[in-house]
């Protein structure tokens, strides 16, 4: 399998008064296409910061993040926005939809940014709603959807742009157990059926159970890697 993401000696340090907090410290990691990987560790271990660095949401103090061979750490703001838009899908812990847009419009939004034509957008929106099991609910605004349904819309949005990889930061944290499992099954099937690459930042056992690779992070360093 080809490598999608490679981090080389990746570090992210924060200044807190006179102290330097090493949120991510010299992490070198290789993620292959089609992986279903979970970055795990206790709160404050640096897993979300690592995910942010991989997704280009934060700039590293040192080191490199190569996504499909491109070092995103060296990209400017606008180029990085384009790169995120075209190559990375995000799913966040909180319901991260734009509240004034309907489910359909939320999914369509990223494609509008990409300049996808109207017919293709509409077709893809319908397809994504079908994949996440939300047919008939596309015209509802987030406030009229349950937490699980909102997170399904977020998954649909993340997929709609046809990214190389989907980064999910604690995607089940705000969901009840049953809804969380249902949602994971959707993501798992997307991974298995479509070969979509997923990286999770989590301490949820449900995700850990389903992940094929676990990356243990402790004090900003990769402590242990586990293949299942």
């Amino acid at each position: 399998m080809s490598s999608v993401i490679t981090t080389k000696n990746l570090s992210r340090h924060f200044q807190d008064g006179e102290n330097i907090i090493k949120a991510v410290d010299d992490v070198s990691l290789n993620i292959e296409a089609g992986e279903f990987t979970a970055i795990i560790g206790p709160s404050g271990s640096g897993k979300s910061t690592l995910l942010n660095l991989i997704g280009g949401l934060d700039n590293p103090t040192s080191g490199a993040v190569e996504l499909s061979g491109t070092d995103i750490a060296k990209m400017s703001g606008s180029a990085l926005s384009d790169f995120r838009r075209d190559h990375i899908g995000f799913i966040f812990q909180s319901y991260n939809l734009i509240p004034v847009l309907s489910a359909e419009e939320n999914i369509e939004y990223i494609m509008l940014l990409q300049g996808v034509d109207t017919a293709t957008r509409k077709k893809r929106v319908r397809e994504m709603l079908h994949v996440v099991g939300l047919e008939g609910l596309g015209d509802r605004r987030p406030s009229h959807l349950s937490g699980g349904q909102q997170q399904r819309v977020a998954i649909a949005r993340a997929m709609a742009s046809h990214p190389d990889i989907i980064l999910a930061d604690e995607p089940t944290a705000n969901l009840d157990s049953k809804t969380g499992i249902a949602l994971l099954e959707v993501m798992k099937s997307l991974n298995e059926d479509r070969g979509m690459t997923f990286i999770f930042s989590t301490h949820d056992n449900k995700i850990m159970d389903r992940a094929r690779r676990l990356v243990h992070v402790l004090d900003g360093k990769v402590d242990q890697e586990e293949l299942k």
Partner: protein
């Protein structure tokens, strides 16, 4: 772009109460500006009309030096020629020759000094409000003994209609004293103390005879068809008349103190407008910042999924633009309605004299197209300028920090 419009429109109604308050703040500022300008324009119009229509005319012709101390010897010998020239000029609406002399005005009971105006009753009525100011008796006919006096002077001299008045004047050129007997035919009241207490009006032929200047006059007051005194046609007339020792001046030059007051009024409107807009701008900045802080997580997400800083900037500016548009509609409706009401009914400021000019007891506002085009454009530009700061702030949000702040 449609989605951006949709987003902006929906965003501004997410917090309806805040949007309404912001719209009211901007809208009322615009309405206040429209009204301030309408009131100022109304006062200027009333002041200018008081100056030009009461007695002075829009311009006057004199011999150079006459205005400084009303020297009776500085009369227009060729008054008839100038009058003929004015009569033939279709840019001139009306004119009235006047003989002006300082003299002593005596009744059987009292004596007063004053200015004696010799006027042609018919022509004077086309230039000044003398005829309309008559409150007792009759206006001038051709009788050589009739005289019009102000009500305060009548009280001072303790006389009424039909009573005798003796006027003593110095003849022109010789300085010899000359007296003439008149009977009060009318009493006038302009509401301007200077005129009502000091002026008397007699027929011009009699005045010419008393001061012994033949067919000459000391002053010719003019009105133009184009009331804009700055108009090129009007200024051309004055320029043609300004020859040799004759000076023709518009009211702005005749009454520089009033011109200064008008300029100050314009300046004060700019200051009031600036203060109103400064306050409104701070309100807009505050409101937009509150709106941005509430949505900081959303902006973080939007940027994370690929929205460019420029696109966020456009979105916030569009929200500001839409708020400005709604505010303008509101401000125009409020300012226009009030302005229209006071244009018809006038603003009751009471009767007062300002800069020597009597203002009527209700000043009608003057609405103009500029108030409804230029001012809203200023409001939109200003709102956009005020929005730029919070918009730039939103555009610079770092996604990872924005996402952390809200979690």
């Amino acid at each position: 772009m449609m989605l951006t419009y949709k987003l902006a429109l929906r965003n501004i109604f997410r917090n309806t109460r805040r949007t309404i308050l912001t719209v009211m703040l901007i809208g009322f500022s615009l309405a206040a500006l429209i009204l301030t300008d309408a009131v100022t324009s109304g006062m200027i119009k009333v002041m200018v009309e008081s100056v030009t229509k009461t007695i002075s005319g829009e311009a006057q012709i004199h011999k150079k030096g006459f205005r400084e101390n009303l020297d009776i010897d500085l009369y227009l010998e060729n008054s008839s020629t100038i009058e003929g020239q004015l009569a033939a000029d279709d840019r001139v609406k009306a004119y009235s020759p006047r003989v002006i002399a300082a003299g002593m005005i005596s009744s059987s009971y009292n004596v007063s000094s004053g200015a004696v105006y010799g006027v042609d009753g018919e022509q004077e009525a086309t230039v000044s409000k003398l005829k309309e100011a008559i409150v007792e008796g009759e206006y001038l006919s051709d009788s050589p003994t009739e005289i019009l006096i102000g009500r305060p002077m009548a009280e001072l001299l303790e006389i009424g209609l039909g009573d005798r008045i003796v006027i003593t004047l110095a003849e022109a050129d010789t300085g010899e004293l000359s007296q003439a007997l008149f009977r009060v035919s009318g009493v006038f009241f302009f509401g301007m103390r200077e005129f009502d207490e000091n002026f008397v009006f007699v027929n011009i032929d009699k005045a010419r005879e008393v001061v012994n200047i033949g067919n000459a006059s000391h002053e010719i007051a003019l009105l133009f068809h184009d009331t804009d005194i700055a108009a090129s046609d009007t200024q051309a007339v004055l320029s043609e008349l300004n020859q040799g020792d004759i000076e023709a001046l518009d009211w702005r030059s005749l009454f520089p103190e009033i011109t200064s007051v008008l300029e100050m009024s314009g300046f004060s409107s700019v200051i009031i407008g600036s203060i109103l807009f400064l306050l409104a701008s701070l309100g807009v900045i505050n409101s937009m910042f509150m709106s941005i802080y509430e949505r900081i997580y959303e902006f973080g997400v939007a940027k994370a999924i690929g929205t460019k800083p420029r696109q966020l900037l456009q979105l916030i500016l569009l929200e500001g633009f839409l708020i400005a548009l709604i505010s303008c509609a509101f401000g125009i409706a409020v300012g226009g309605s009030l302005g229209l009401y006071y244009e018809i009914n006038g603003i009751p400021l009471g009767e007062f004299e300002f800069a020597g000019v009597a203002l009527s007891n209700a000043i009608p506002t003057v609405l103009s197209i500029n108030q409804f085009t230029h001012f809203p454009i200023y409001v939109i530009l200003l709102t956009l300028t005020a929005t730029l700061y919070p918009a730039r702030f939103a555009a610079k949000i770092v996604p990872s920090e924005a996402l952390q702040k809200s979690l």
